[in-house]
């Protein structure tokens, strides 16, 4: 009985302690010194017809919240070195994934 309660307490503590920011769907590796600026990325994709609401670093990639030229409101990941589009999803529904 005590064991069950302690296990529960422990898992609850773990649930509270895990940071909410760890989304983890995409990770990018590569030398940070070679990164292009995030402003360069947003300028480029805005020229392509994107609307950008927010851009930040997530899992070593650039993550953009915005609307695609096709009008889909999405969350997109880009390679910070090549600025290549890696992954586009709408609330977990994958709309684009770069071929491996």
């Amino acid at each position: 009985m005590k064991l069950i309660i302690s296990a529960l307490a422990l898992s609850l503590a773990a649930a509270v302690a895990v940071p909410a920011s760890a989304t983890g769907v995409m990770t990018c590796q590569g030398d940070k010194a070679k990164w292009q600026s995030i402003a360069k990325l947003t300028d480029t994709i805005i020229k392509d017809g994107w609307k950008v609401r927010k851009a930040k670093v997530d899992g070593g990639c650039y993550e953009v919240y915005g609307t695609t030229p096709e009008g889909d409101r999405v969350e997109a990941y880009f390679d910070p070195i090549t600025l290549e589009k890696l992954y586009v999803s709408r609330r977990g529904e994958v709309l684009f994934q770069k071929a491996k």
Binding site: G24, R73, E93
Partner: protein
Amino acid sequence: MVPKSLLWVLLALPALWWAVAAVQPDADLEALLHPTGELSARLLIAALVVTPLVRLVPRWRGLIRYRRAIGVAAFGYGLLHLVFYVIAMGSLDDMLAELGARGIWTGWLALLLMLPLALTSNQAAVRALGRSWKPLQRLAYPAALLTLLHWVFVHDGLTSALLHFVPLALLEATRFLPSQRRFA
């Protein structure tokens, strides 16, 4: 023992905090979605663990009197989460476009199931519904399941959602253990 009125005040405090954050000129409502949704899920889990927990530890039966406030707060934060979502999206077209995404319809449905529960969480409804009140409140279980799915799909990751729901699942599982008192 915490007076129920104090509990209601405590449960309302985070809402006040987020409401203030949401009306700031540079407010990022998208960033408020996760904390409000997470608190709603936590409260829903908390309301649901009361019964199996008291069955396991009969000394804690005093917790039952707090269950209604916790459950209603779970709905309240779900509603706040929805309000922030609607404001952040700011466009009916965008909301309809993603309605079919599994991370979205599961959330809508979870909150929809919680609506009749919140509306009947008062003595008048308990009296009016009589024997059908309890079966109605069992909608909390499918609501919890949908909340888990919403979290997993919308957040692209299992870890955090599972860490929250595994304790609930474990406690629910203990209901199937033979009651110790009955066999004592």
